[in-house]
Structures are given as C-alpha cells and as structure tokens.
C-alpha cells in the first residue's frame, strides 16, 4: 500500500490536567541525547528551556487557589515552520514525520531562526565559542525501544502521548467532549499559527506558559491572520516582490538611459537637418 511508504505526520498531545510535574520527560530527553549539565547563565530565559534542555516543565496557577498546573514546554513543530522559512541556508527542515529538525552542518549562526520563531523555542549555545542551535528534535534520534520519543515514553501518567496528528486531534476532541466541565473547549495548536504538530488541551488557559499569543492578543496587536494562518503564509506574497522589483527597477533605469540617449540623438538629427536647410541660421 502506498500509505505505508509515506510516513504519517505525527505529533504529541499534552494533557495539562494529567501532568504531575515530575520532570521525567526532561530526564528522559537529557539521557537520550546525552545533554550536558545546564549551568545557570545570564543569557538563558527563565522558562527552563535552553540550548541544552529541549523540554521543560512550567508551573502556572490552577483553577482554584492553591492549585497548580504543570505545562510541558517544547518546540511545537509547526506545520509551516517560521524557522525553516527564514533560515538563509535552509538549515531547518519540515520532515514528513511531522518533525522540524535542525541541520548543524549548514548553520552559520545568524540567529534569525530565534527571531523568527513566534514561540521563542529555538535556543543558542552562547557560551560555546563555536555555537550551535539547540532545539527539540522529535525525530528518529529521540526514539527509545518501543518506537516512542524518550520524553513520551518516560511520562508516568500518560499526560503526553505520541501518534499521528490527526488521531491526536480526534482523541483531544473526544476527551473534551466526554469531560466538558473539566477542559476548556479549545485545542491549543490545532489552527493557531497554521497548526502545530504538538498540541495541548487544558483546563486553564496556557497561552502564557507556552508563549503562544491567544486569539484576543492577536487581535490586540493587529495580526488576526495568525489565528488560522502561519507566518510564512503571511509573508508569502512578499517573497515574490524581490524578483519583480529587480526587473522593474533595473528596467526602468535602463529605460531612462535609453530615452535620454534617444532624445539626444533626435536633437542632433534635428540640428543637422536645420543646418542642411538653412546653413546661415545655425551660425548666428
């Protein structure tokens, strides 16, 4: 069957209500990728992610006073990733298995991907004299025996699960439908920014925890298009401008030159004609 040959776009569904914040996913990721110690440094953000930590747990207030919710933060693996669109050497790839991966051999270290990522999930090894980008991989490198990424496999409560994205969305819908009192009726990442492979369901708003602007925020900062579309989609038409601009400007400049030369020739020709007709007049 042809379906088997083409890998299905996979993703991760994180159910915030199930997370107990044990950070086993972080531990699993660190062990799987043999990441070094993550010392305190002035260039890191306080959300726990860094070039040496691909996932982290963020703590937010729950529904009731004294209650807490843990949100797992990681690269969201957008369907149309900004990092891949803006990288000038195309070091980022959106793979058919849903992951967005980084190719360190191409990178020149311009850090445009970090500026372009709307969720600030791309981090940089500033302390390394030969620095690279660090980011969640979600590809074959992550797999432990059993076929699951190390972080998902390590989760003791099933709060974060891995599978085909379509099925995960169905599963998320089912959970929300079965427990409408427990969950907010919103799947984070289903349509936001063109859809992401990593999706969340929760009982409290988690926009701040995963740095994803809420639809109201998008309205407030006047980019409502991003509720449904990705950033590359927003900029798509501007990419075409460059070649048009090149030919238009160069053409018009040569055109001006051509017209100037033509008018000068016409003047000279008219002068010669005048000379032939009445040679005395030109001498005056």
């Amino acid at each position: 069957m042809s379906e088997k040959k083409q890998p299905v776009a996979k993703g991760i569904l994180t159910d915030v209500t199930k997370c107990i914040g044990c950070e086993r996913c972080v531990e699993g990721c660190v062990r799987q990728h043999k990441l070094p110690a993550d010392p305190p440094a002035h260039f890191k953000a306080d959300d726990g992610l860094s070039a040496y930590r691909y996932t982290s747990i963020r703590k937010i207030k729950g529904k009731n006073p004294g209650e807490w919710r843990m949100v797992r933060k990681q690269c969201l693996h957008c369907n149309e990733p900004s990092c891949a669109a803006v990288c000038l050497v195309s070091a980022f790839d959106k793979n058919s298995d849903g992951s967005v991966t980084y190719n360190a051999d191409k990178c020149i270290g311009c850090r445009y991907c970090m500026l372009g990522c709307p969720f600030s999930n791309v981090r940089y090894q500033y302390d390394n004299p030969l620095p690279y980008v660090g980011k969640c991989k979600m590809n074959e490198d992550c797999r432990v025996p059993g076929g699951m990424p190390a972080c998902v496999s390590a989760c003791p409560t099933g709060a974060t699960v891995y599978g085909p994205r379509e099925e995960l969305i169905k599963e998320a819908r089912r959970r929300i439908k079965e427990n409408p009192d427990r969950y907010i009726d919103y799947i984070y990442g289903e349509h936001d920014f063109g859809g992401t492979s990593v999706i969340y369901i929760s009982d409290v708003p988690i926009n701040d925890a995963i740095d994803m602007p809420s639809p109201e925020k998008l309205d407030a900062i006047r980019v409502p298009q991003l509720k449904k579309h990705s950033i590359p989609h927003l900029l798509h038409s501007w990419v075409l401008v460059a070649p048009i601009q090149f030919f238009a400007v160069a053409g018009s400049l040569f055109g001006i030159k051509f017209l100037q030369r033509r008018s000068r020739l016409m003047q000279e020709r008219a002068l010669k004609k005048q000379e032939k007709e009445n040679p005395t007049e030109t001498e005056v």
Binding site: S82, I108, S120
Partner: protein, 639 residues
C-alpha cells in the same frame, strides 16, 4: 599636507577606539558570545547586527540615491557630491559586513549562503544583495584609487563601462533596503505593533532614502568644515529638499498604515505605554524636525540649520532601526537588552576604523571633486601620481609613531578594563565570585543545589528557610542565616554550601567547625550550638505540607496522609520513600513495567492518587495477612 590640530585629535580618538575594538574582536573569538555580549535567548539580535548592519546600511543609502541622480538622471550640479556619497556607500557596507563576521556564530561558514539556497528567506535576499552591491560599489570606486597611479588605461576603462554597474548597484540597493525591513516581518507577534507592519519594506526603503540624503548633507558639512573647504549651500539645499520629500512620503505612509490597521491607540490612545514615548521621540527626530527645517527656505539657507536638520534625521534613522530591531522586542521578551561594554567598544570601533579609512581617502585622493577625465585621455596635468616620498610620509611618518604610542597606552587599558568580558577566561558562572552550582526551579522558591559537587542535585526549600528559620525574635537580619551562608565576598549571593557543610549526607557531621573556627577565630559557639536543642519541633501529620511545601497537584486532599522528613519537597519525599528501594532493584528504569519506572505505581490518573494509595494499603494488608497465615499455619511451620 598640513593638518589642523582638530583633525589630529579626532584621529587620535578614532585610533584609540579602533585599537581597543581589535582587542575585543580577538576576545570574541576566543571566549565566545556569552562572555562578550549581553544577547539572550529571547533577544538574539544585538548591537552588532542592528546598529552596524541594519542602521549602518541605512546611513550608507546615500551612495545609491546620489549615484542614481548623477549618473542616471544626469543632473550635473550634484556631481560634486557623487564620489563622496559612493565612497560612503562602499565603506558603510564594508564595515557592516565586517561587523557581521563578529556577530554570527560561525563566521568561517560565511560562504554558505552562496551555495546553500533558501530563496524564501529575506535574510538570503539581504545577504546576496548586500554582498553583490558591495562588490559593485568597489568597482565604482576603483577609478578614484587608480587615477592616482600611472595606469590611465584601467582608469579609463572603468569610467567607460560604469553604467551597467551603476544600474545594478541602484537596483540591488532598493532591493536590499526593502528586504532589510522585511527581516522584521518574520516576527509579527513579537515585535511591538508600533514598529511592526506588513508595509515595513516600503517604510524602510523610503525612510532610508530620505534620511540617507540628509546624512550626506550633514557629513558634507562636517568634513567641509574639518578640511576648511567652501560649503556649496545651493547643492546642500537641493539635497535637503529631496530628503524632505522622501521623509514626507514616509510620514504619509506611516499615517495611512496606522489608520488602516487601526493602530493610533498605541501612539496616543488607551494603549499608551513607554514604547509610545520612544516612538514619538523617534518620529520627532526622524521626520518632524528635518521636514520643518528642510522645507522652510529661510531656514534651509543657513548652514547651521541644515546641519541640525541632517543630524536630526541621521539620529532619528538610527533610532528607528534600533527600535525596530531591539527595543520593539522588549515587551514580548519580558526582559531588556543593554549592550555590554565589549559590544559598544567593538561596534563603535569598527565605525571609527571606517572613518579613519574614509579620512585617509579624503586626504590622499580626489573625492570632493571629480577630475575631468572623461574628456582628457591622459589626464596627467589634472592628477598628481603617488610618489615614493608621499607614501613614506604617510605610512612611516610622525603619524605612524603617534599611533604606536596610542596603541601602547590603549592595549593594556582595554585588556584590564574588559578582563571580565573579552580578555579574561569565560566560565558560565564566572560573573559572581565563588558561586555554588545552584539552579532554580520554575517558581524560584526552591533551589536545586549540588552541595557535594558530585553532580547530584538536591532540592533546598530556600523560601521556607528564609521565612521560618531565618526569622528569630530580637535578631537583626544580618545575624540570621546570612551570617554564615552569604559571607564570602561582596558580590556573593550564595556561598557554596561546602564552605560549611563538608558532607551533606552525614547529618551528625554536616557542619565544618574548623572552617567556622578559622573564620570567627573562636570555638565558643560550638559548645553552645551542640548544647542547643536542635531537634525539629514535632510536626503532626496534618501539617506535613508545612515542611514539604506543596508542589503537587491537588495536595490539599492528602494533607492527612503525608510523611515526615525534613529536607525534601513533598514530591521528592514521597517518592524517596518508595523509589529509593525500587531503584535499587531496577536502576535505570528502562523497562516500562519494571519497579523503577514511574508507571509501576502511577498507573492511574494523578487525580486519583488516593486510589493508588488505597491500593497500596490493601496490598500491604494482604502481605501482612499472608504473613499472619504463614505463621499461623502449623503445617508449614518448621518443627
């Protein structure tokens, strides 16, 4: 050539800056970006990229605008500024590209974009346009250099075939100026809406053209004054009018953008924040002041006013680029970026070096006016060739000795003053003295400390220690925990635990009394301390979360079922009770069903931990009963 004292002093300052920048430049490659810059994960573009590249390119716009006016539109009266502005373009772009070598992480891969394409990227377009444009400007200024050497054929050839290069240069300029703006379109949610717009490319192009012309005005006036030349007010006025036209266009464009996208509330209206003030100041400098000065004829006629307007536009352009590239991101990053001294030194040092090259070319070549070589095949009468004497006086004269003296003074000064950044050795935690390896949890109430320095982190409830143990009646704050724990050095916020506690795992001998004795020169405290009742007040089971602070979902349901242990968090304590032995059996927990794996106990939803506990209790009961039946059963009992 006799030079005034002003020029000499200016050159000395520029040399000092350039030499210290060279020190920083070497330090950046040895120590990395973390040591020399203050860029962070949320604010990844700093001064070197925004000020030197984006703002620098904008200031150097003049090159292409004047080239278009003079060589395409054939307006002869601007010919006096043509070479000046093309040279500014060449040097401006050269210094921008040079500073990028320090900014990008892996500069030895700078050639990658030529071979690894991503035409969708705006930075790709900028890279190609800027590097080709720089090459084109280099071709454009070659005649300026070669005409002072006895190779008239080459000079003449470049003059003859200049037109295609000029056209290519102007075209590439318009392209990369607009795509320099498009760079920031990639972050619509992170850039403040005052500066973000889907029209940024057009705004960047028009503002660069307007302010670029104004920059030419102010630079011409400055250098004319420096070299005591007559200032051509008529040409300056014409350039100023052009600048005013472009800046007015920019004003209209920005107003239309704000109206169409309904953004006026960020400037005046309900969403008035500090960004609004910054934007108003920037707009005042960039547009309002120059347009008023340049459009009023009685102001335009005065040189001081022209210089003021040009300087204002120059400053405003820099502000606009820095606000778009750095300041506009502060709100979404929830942090600010202040460049480090190393960044400032390198940034301005590169500009200083560029200015030195510029002044050298101004003095030694025909930049201010073009010798009429078009109609003079062998222009020997107009231009004097370089002589050996001149070369010797330039490169080995008194000037050279003076620069050597400056270098001898500046080099050690820079090395000492930047020893924590560019010239010292960098460790990630070297910014505080003797800092213990401490990491913080997400809420910063807990510290993860590696007290034994063996790689094992333990949780330390810092806030609890401050709140409960750090407070004693009748004691000043300095006499509590701080007396022992935070005492090493002036900047030391958390001395290593190891200073006092030699071994955290031995509760009876955790305090290093020898160190205490050497530090306070007395042993009297020891007996008093040992005599003191140090036992923790008896904690009842209901209040376990008093010690084991809540960091678990729905803790209030399990207050009655807690366990007592002093040092760990609730979660760690609970897990420690079971997991310590479980992990002895199943060390790396690789088997998903093994006893070391979390799933072994946490099979259920965490909301139903109560059920897990019940099940455990049932299991314990079962085991006890099995034990009982075993002992009661006489048949299996040994005789």
């Amino acid at each position: 050539m006799q030079q005034s004292t002003t020029i000499k002093v200016i050159k000395d300052i520029l040399w000092a800056l350039t030499i210290s920048a060279a020190v920083v430049g070497v330090g950046r490659f040895v120590n990395g970006l973390a040591a020399t810059t203050n860029m962070t994960d949320f604010l990844p573009w700093g001064l070197w990229k925004i000020l030197n590249m984006v703002a620098g390119a904008a200031v150097a716009t003049s090159g292409f605008v004047v080239a278009a006016i003079v060589y395409i539109l054939n307006l002869e009266k601007f010919k006096s500024v043509a070479r000046f502005s093309i040279l500014i373009g060449f040097l401006g772009y050269g210094s921008s590209l040079f500073s990028l070598l320090f900014d990008i992480g892996l500069p030895h891969r700078g050639w990658h974009p030529f071979f690894m394409w991503n035409p969708h990227s705006f930075l790709f377009e900028v890279f190609w346009c800027v590097s080709i444009y720089w090459g084109v400007t280099a071709l454009e200024i070659i005649p300026i250099v070669t005409e002072r050497f006895p190779i008239p054929r080459i000079t003449h050839m470049f003059h003859k075939y200049m037109l295609p290069f000029i056209v290519l240069g102007v075209t590439l300029s318009t392209m990369h100026h607009s795509s320099l703006g498009s760079l920031f379109m990639a972050s619509p949610t992170r850039l403040h809406p005052l500066w973000f717009s889907l029209w940024i490319p057009v705004e960047f192009l028009i503002s660069a053209m307007g302010s670029g012309l104004a920059t030419i005005v102010v630079l011409m006036i400055v250098f004319d004054k420096l070299y005591k030349r007559k200032i051509d007010v008529a040409v300056m006025g014409k350039l100023a009018i052009g600048s005013a036209i472009f800046l007015t266009l920019y004003l209209i464009l920005k107003s239309v953008d704000f109206t169409v996208n309904n953004k006026w509330n960020f400037v005046f209206g309900p969403d008035y924040t500090w960004e609004s003030v910054v934007f108003q100041a920037e707009f005042m400098f960039q547009v309002i002041i120059p347009v008023i000065i340049f459009s009023l004829p009685f102001l335009r006629r005065r040189i001081s006013m022209l210089a003021l307007g040009g300087a204002s536009a120059f400053l405003g352009l820099g502000m606009h680029r820095i606000n778009t590239g750095i300041v506009g991101y502060f709100r979404s990053a929830e942090s600010i970026y202040i460049p480090s001294i190393s960044e400032i030194v390198l940034s301005f040092g590169i500009m200083a070096g560029t200015t030195l090259i510029f002044m050298f070319l101004l003095e030694r070549f025909h930049v201010f006016e073009e010798p009429d070589v078009e109609h003079d095949e062998f222009h020997t009468a107009k231009v004097q060739y370089w002589s050996k004497e001149e070369a010797r006086s330039v490169f080995l004269g008194a000037r050279f000795r003076r620069v050597l003296i400056i270098a001898i003074v500046v080099l050690p000064l820079t090395a000492v003053s930047l020893r924590n950044q560019a010239t010292g050795s960098y460790k990630p935690d070297s910014r505080l003295v003797e800092r213990a390896p401490v990491a913080m949890d997400t809420m910063r109430t807990w510290l993860r400390i590696d007290a034994n320095r063996n790689g094992d982190m333990v949780y330390f409830p810092h806030e609890y220690h401050m709140m409960e143990l750090g407070r004693r009646d009748g004691l000043a704050k300095e006499d509590t925990c701080v007396k022992c724990h935070h005492l090493n050095a002036p900047k030391d916020h958390n001395s290593s635990c190891r200073v006092c506690h030699t071994d955290m795992e031995l509760p009876n001998n955790i305090f290093n009394w020898d160190n205490h004795k050497t530090r306070f020169e007395t042993d009297a405290d020891r007996d008093a301390f040992l005599a003191m009742d140090r036992t923790i007040p008896k904690i009842e089971f209901e209040a376990c979360d008093k010690c084991h602070e809540s960091n678990m979902l729905g803790l209030q349901n399990y207050k009655e079922k807690g366990f007592s242990s002093q040092a760990h968090g609730f979660k760690d304590a609970l897990h420690g009770l079971c997991l310590t032995c479980h992990r002895l059996v199943d060390e790396d927990a690789a088997n998903p069903d093994g006893p070391g794996n979390c799933r072994y106990c946490h099979k259920l939803n965490p909301v139903d931990i109560e059920m897990t506990m019940q099940k455990l209790e049932e299991k314990v009961l079962q085991l006890q009963q099995a034990e009982l039946t075993k002992t009661e059963d006489p048949s299996t009992a040994p005789n």
